[in-house]
Symmetry: C2
Subunit: 420 residues, 2 copies
C-alpha cells in the first residue's frame, strides 16, 4: 500500500464484523453507546451536548447478509441473524493517545454485548497524536539487516530445539553448531525464559560466547533473540545483560506480558524486539469473535515491536494460508502517512525448504525472517546441511528456479526434499 | 471450599476442555509435546532423559462423548469429534514461579493446534513457590471493609455515569451528590482514565475534595476506585496521587494493561486494586475456546487483584446467570492451603434492586461489592433515593424478606421496583 493512501483520521476509528438478531443499525448504536457515554438506561447527565462531544459514532454500516444460526451463545434471541461490517469512531479527547486505554475502548466491554452473536475487531485507524506518543519499531527491517549483516535475502533462522530441557551450557553448544553452520538468526522458544533448569543469565553468557567465537571466524554475528519475557524489572535487567554482552535482539511474548509491559520494554530497549504471539489463538480462532491480526498487530507495532510472528505457510497450526498471507502483508501497511512503522514478518511453525517459493510469492519481498526448528536441526545430514538447505531453497525462490530443479546440483536441498 | 481440601501440586497443573477429530489421548500427547520439549518432528537432542526431566505430562484424560460438528475451523479433518477433559502438568523448573511465563506455558501456542477443534483452559493449580513469589491481594474483603467502614453487608456502589463526557469538576459535583446520598463505593468507568477531556489529576482532586467534604459531615469516607489504567510510570504516579490525597482504591483494566504491568502495580500499591475485566468476552465467549473465569481470575488474584469483576445476575451482557455465579464462587476457592488469596467479587452490569436476593443466595455471604450505574443515578426520585433503594433491597435480602413486602414501608425501594 502506498503511504499516500493513508488518511490519518481526527477521531479514533475501529472496524468490526458483527452478527445480530436485531436491526444491525440499532445494534451498532447500542455498541456506540456502551463504549462511550451511554448505559442501559438514560441517565440525568447524558445531555445532547455531552453525547455530541464525547459519544462514539457509527460511521459506517454495511450489511453482509443473513446467517442461519447464531455463531456465539447468549445473544438476543431471534429467528434470523444478520452479519454486517461497521465502523465506530471516538473523540481522541476521551482517552488521549494511550495504548492501554485504546484497548479498553475499542476492545473492551463489547464482545459480550447481548445484542450480538458475533463481534470481531477487524481494523483500527488512529489520529496522529498516537505517532507522537509512540515511536513504533526502532529497528524494523533496515536495522535488523544492519545488526545481522544479512542483505538482499531473508534472514534464515531457527529456534532452539528441544524448546526446553537443555541446560545453559548445552544451549551454548547447540548455538555453536548453528553459528558454524552459517545461520543468520536464532531464537529461544517461547517456553524458555528464566527457569531454574536454564537460567537466563547463564544461557545468555553461554550463547554469546558461542556467537562471538563463531563471529571471530566468519566475520558475521548471528542475531539471537533471547526470550526475556517476565516482570518489568526482570525484562530491563535481562535486556541490559544481552546488550552488555553484545547481543543484538530480545524476544518477548506479547500476550503474556501485556501492553503496558511491552511499551515499557520498548521505551527502554536499545535492541530490536522480536515479538512472539503465543496465546494469539484464543483471541482469533473463532472467526466471529475477538481480534483480526491486522488490528491486533497494529497496536504492537505502534508500541515498538520490530519483528512480528505471522505463523507460516502450510503450518502445523489450524490457520489457513490465506490468513497467514494477509497477516504478513498487513505488517507493511503504513500506520501513519509519515510514520509507517512497518514490522518485519516472522514466518515459523513447521517451516522447511518447501515453503520458500510460496512465501516469497506472497510477500513479494525478501524482507522477512523465516525460522525453522525441526526444519533445520532435524535435517538428515546434520545442522550444517539443514541451514544450507534453507538458504538454497530461498536462493532458488529468489532466482525463480523450481526447487526440484535447483536441488539437482544442491545436495543439502536435495536431501531436505527427501526428508521433509 | 475448605482450605484443607487444597492439595498444592509439585508440578504446574492445568485442566483443559478439548475437542478433537483424532484419538483424544494422542491429541493430548501432541499438546504436551508442543508445550514442552517436542516439535513437529523428532530432533536430535530430545532424549528420553530430557523428556522425563522437562516434558509436559498428560496426567488425566476423561472422554466426554462425541459431537456432530467441529466447534472451531481449521482442525484436523475427520468424520466425528470427541470432547474430553484433560490435565497437563509441567515441572516448575522449566519456568520457575513466573506469572508471565506461566501464561506463555499454559495458555500459549496451544489454542491453534491443528489436532483440536476446541481448546479451553478450565483451571490451574500451582506449586507453593508461586505463593512465595506473589503475595496475592493486599486487602481483600477485610481490608476493603476497614477502608470503607462498611461491615456485615455488601458495599453498595455505583459507576460514574455518563461514563465519559463529564469534566473533572462535573465529576466532582456528581460524587458530592453520591456521597451525600450515603453511597459506599464509586468507580470510574473503564472508558474514563486520563483523557484531555477529564484529566486524571484534575478528576482525583475534584472527587477527593467532594469525598472529604462528605466525610466531614457523615464520618464515613466513600471508597472511590480511580481508573489509573495506563503505562507503568503513569500508573505509579497516578497511584501515588490518589494515595497522597487520601483516596482508598485504584482501578485497573487487566486485559488492557497486561500481567507484567499489573504485577508491577501490585508490588507498588498501598491501596486495594479494583480489577476490571473489560475485553474478557474475547477470551471466553466461545465455549470451546479461550479461558474459563476460574483459571483466568486465579492468575490475577495471585498477581494481587483485590476486587474482581464477575458481571452480575440478569446482566445486560450475554453471560448466563449460572456462569456469573460460578465465577463469583470461584473467587473464594483458596489458591493455596496456607495462602487462600481470596478476592472480592464485584457484581455489575444492569444491576438494580432486583438482583439483591438472588445474588446473596448465590454467594451465601455479603462479602461483595455491587455497583449499579443507571440502577442508582437513574432512580426516578433522584440519586439519594437510588442509593437508599439499593440499601433497602439488600437489607430485605439479608433479612430474608421478600422485596415486594419490604417495599411496602420503604418508599425508595417501592419507587425503584416501579422504575426498574
Amino acid at each position: 500500500m502506498n503511504n499516500d493512501a493513508i488518511k490519518t483520521p481526527l477521531r479514533i476509528e475501529a472496524d468490526y464484523l458483527i452478527e445480530t438478531a436485531i436491526d444491525p443499525m440499532q445494534a451498532a448504536e447500542i455498541m456506540a453507546g456502551e463504549q462511550s457515554s451511554g448505559t442501559f438506561r438514560a441517565v440525568p447527565g447524558e445531555t445532547p451536548e455531552l453525547k455530541a462531544r464525547a459519544g462514539a459514532r457509527v460511521e459506517r454500516l454495511v450489511a453482509l447478509g443473513p446467517v442461519d444460526a447464531p455463531s456465539l451463545p447468549g445473544g438476543t434471541k431471534g429467528t434470523s441473524w444478520t452479519r454486517a461490517e461497521m465502523t465506530l469512531s471516538w473523540p481522541l479527547d476521551n482517552i488521549g493517545p494511550s495504548l492501554p486505554n485504546l484497548i479498553a475502548t475499542i476492545a473492551g466491554n463489547l464482545f459480550e454485548l447481548k445484542p450480538f452473536s458475533g463481534v470481531r475487531l477487524l481494523d483500527v485507524r488512529l489520529p496522529a497524536a498516537f505517532a507522537q506518543q509512540y515511536s513504533g519499531p526502532k529497528f524494523g527491517m533496515a536495522g535488523t539487516r544492519n545488526l545481522s549483516g544479512v542483505y538482499d535475502r531473508p534472514l534464515v533462522g531457527t529456534i532452539i530445539k528441544p524448546s526446553v530441557g537443555l541446560s545453559a551450557q548445552e544451549t551454548g553448544t547447540l548455538v555453536s553448531q548453528l553459528c558454524d553452520s552459517g545461520i543468520d538468526f536464532i531464537k529461544d522458544d517461547e517456553l524458555q525464559a528464566d527457569g531454574p533448569a536454564c537460567p537466563f543469565e547463564d544461557r545468555v553468557r553461554a550463547v554469546m560466547a558461542a556467537v562471538d567465537r563463531a563471529a571471530d571466524k566468519t566475520g558475521r554475528k548471528a542475531m539471537v533473540a533471547f526470550n526475556l519475557t517476565g516482570e518489568i524489572d526482570e525484562m530491563r535487567t535481562r535486556h541490559d545483560l544481552v546488550s552488555d554482552l553484545g547481543g543484538t535482539c530480545v524476544m518477548v511474548s506479547l500476550n503474556a506480558v501485556g501492553m503496558s509491559g511491552v511499551v515499557e520494554l520498548a521505551r527502554h530497549t536499545t535492541l530490536p524486539i522480536h515479538a512472539h504471539r503465543c496465546g494469539w489463538g484464543a483471541l482469533t480462532r473463532d472467526p466471529m469473535l475477538g481480534w483480526s491480526y491486522p488490528a491486533w498487530s497494529k497496536l504492537w507495532r505502534l508500541a515498538g515491536a520490530d519483528h512480528m510472528h505471522v505463523n507460516g505457510l502450510d503450518n502445523k497450526f489450524s490457520e489457513a494460508n490465506e490468513s497467514v498471507i494477509a497477516s504478513a502483508q498487513s505488517l507493511s501497511d503504513p500506520l501513519f502517512a509519515d510514520a509507517p512503522m512497518r514490522a518485519v514478518p516472522v514466518f515459523s511453525s513447521g517451516q522447511t525448504v518447501r515453503q520458500a517459493a510460496g512465501t516469497l510469492a506472497a510477500t513479494g519481498s525478501p524482507d522477512l525472517i523465516v525460522t525453522a526448528g525441526g526444519g533445520v536441526v532435524a535435517h538428515p545430514d546434520g545442522i550444517e546441511s539443514g541451514v544450507m538447505a534453507m538458504r538454497q531453497a530461498w536462493d532458488a525462490a529468489m532466482q525463480g528456479v523450481d526447487i526440484a530443479v535447483y536441488a539437482k546440483d544442491h545436495a543439502a536441498l536435495a536431501s531436505a526434499l527427501k526428508a521433509y
